[in-house]
């Protein structure tokens, strides 16, 4: 990796650590000056961009880190005693979840544990056999598979969702494109959704869910097909939404981020664990 590419990667990584653009610019410029003066290759002087960005973020932690986030607010989503049966099999047994404004909840569990079912119930799309979901505010829902029109352009899907939210055409496109750019995606003109890669389609899906400033975001494994960088970007969005005071529920089977979320709902049935 030459020094310019290293510096570029450093900037990207620091942005992922939620450092301010100003801080990023200063650190990158200083590293560039050092490399120029010393004539060293960047990897030798600073190590990997990821490692150095993490060290910088830690050094600046007090100013930019999480402690600044506001305390959780009022209850946005409350699911009480949710039970769901399919035929005679009980998928969900009296599940509770309360998410406040400014909180992130992760829903985990084995395949078939009912994660998506639970999310659909939270969204009000599916009736539980018992229990009740109470919602306070506007909902944004990102389904696991598609939820997009194959033959429409991304811009058209932005307009469609935007119109539902009461936004005009131009504003919808603006918001959609800005959301796409934040996920390192620039929709090419004239490319229909069916020609997008799986990961890009998921980005579209996610952008559509977050349009219109929802108070509660329900995200059903929205990062499938993302590369590592975009995956990290996705979590940065989650933290940003949280810091903006939204309630976020993420269905996930990847455990790497669980230490940072506010609560984890494990839907793996206890009996299944005992039987295994």
């Amino acid at each position: 990796m030459d020094n310019d590419r290293w510096l570029w990667a450093l900037g990207q990584e620091m942005a992922r650590h939620q450092l301010t653009p100003d801080a990023v610019r200063h650190v990158v410029a200083e590293a560039a000056a050092h490399l120029r003066d010393s004539g060293q290759p960047a990897l030798r002087a600073f190590g990997t961009p990821e490692g150095y960005a993490a060290a910088v973020a830690e050094s600046l932690a007090a100013r930019y880190g999480r402690p600044a986030r506001p305390a959780p607010g009022r209850v946005r989503l409350s699911a009480r005693g949710i039970t769901k049966r399919y035929r005679r099999r009980t998928i969900l047994r009296s599940v509770d979840l309360t998410v406040r404004a400014g909180e992130v909840a992760a829903v985990v569990g084995a395949n078939g544990a009912g994660k998506s079912t639970f999310l659909r119930i939270c969204a009000g799309l599916l009736a539980p056999d018992a229990g009740e979901v109470t919602l306070d505010g506007r909902l944004g829902y990102c389904p696991q598979d598609a939820g997009t029109y194959d033959f429409l352009l991304p811009d058209e899907q932005f307009v469609l969702i935007g119109a539902g939210r009461g936004l005009d055409r131009e504003r919808s496109k603006q918001i959609g494109r800005a959301g796409a750019a934040a996920l390192q995606w620039r929709p090419a003109a004239g490319v229909q959704t069916r020609h997008l890669s799986g990961g890009t389609r998921q980005k579209l899906n996610l952008v559509m869910a977050s349009m219109g400033e929802p108070d509660v975001l329900l995200l059903d494994e929205p990062y499938q097909g993302f590369d590592r960088g975009t995956y990290l970007d996705f979590w940065q969005h989650v933290w940003r939404w949280r810091d903006e005071g939204r309630a976020v529920v993420v269905v996930t089977h990847l455990l790497s981020q669980l230490d940072q979320v506010d609560q984890v709902l494990d839907l793996t049935p206890a009996t299944e664990g005992a039987a295994a």
Partner: protein, 108 residues
């Protein structure tokens, strides 16, 4: 010297050394690295040095300013704040006491 040991010791005193160097005159990162090298510490990598500078800046012991040098492009110059001057006095006194203890134990 064993590299790992050197690294461990350095981590403990690098900030004090940086404060001391900046106590003599304001300087920028690469110049500080060179000064530390000349003082016998060997080469200090940027990845080690700059996080220390950022932390000192964050805690208010040093301030920084981007400036064109006498020759060459802009560099970020650091200098001690008043709090930094006080901290340097206190830390160098602490170090003398600490090094004295270590010496006393080893030499006995």
């Amino acid at each position: 010297m064993d590299q790992e040991r050197r690294g461990q010791w350095l981590r403990g005193v690098l900030d004090v050394c940086v404060l001391a160097l900046l106590g003599r005159r304001e300087s920028y990162g690469y110049e500080l690295a060179q000064a530390l090298d000349e003082a016998g510490f060997g080469q200090i990598q940027g990845g080690t040095l700059y996080p220390v500078l950022l932390r000192l800046q964050r805690t208010g012991l040093i301030t920084a300013e981007w400036r064109e040098g006498a020759s060459g492009p802009a560099r970020k110059y650091y200098r001690l704040t008043e709090a930094g001057v006080e901290a340097l006095q206190r830390l160098s006194a602490d170090w003398s006491v600490f090094a004295g203890h270590v010496d006393a134990v080893i030499r006995r």
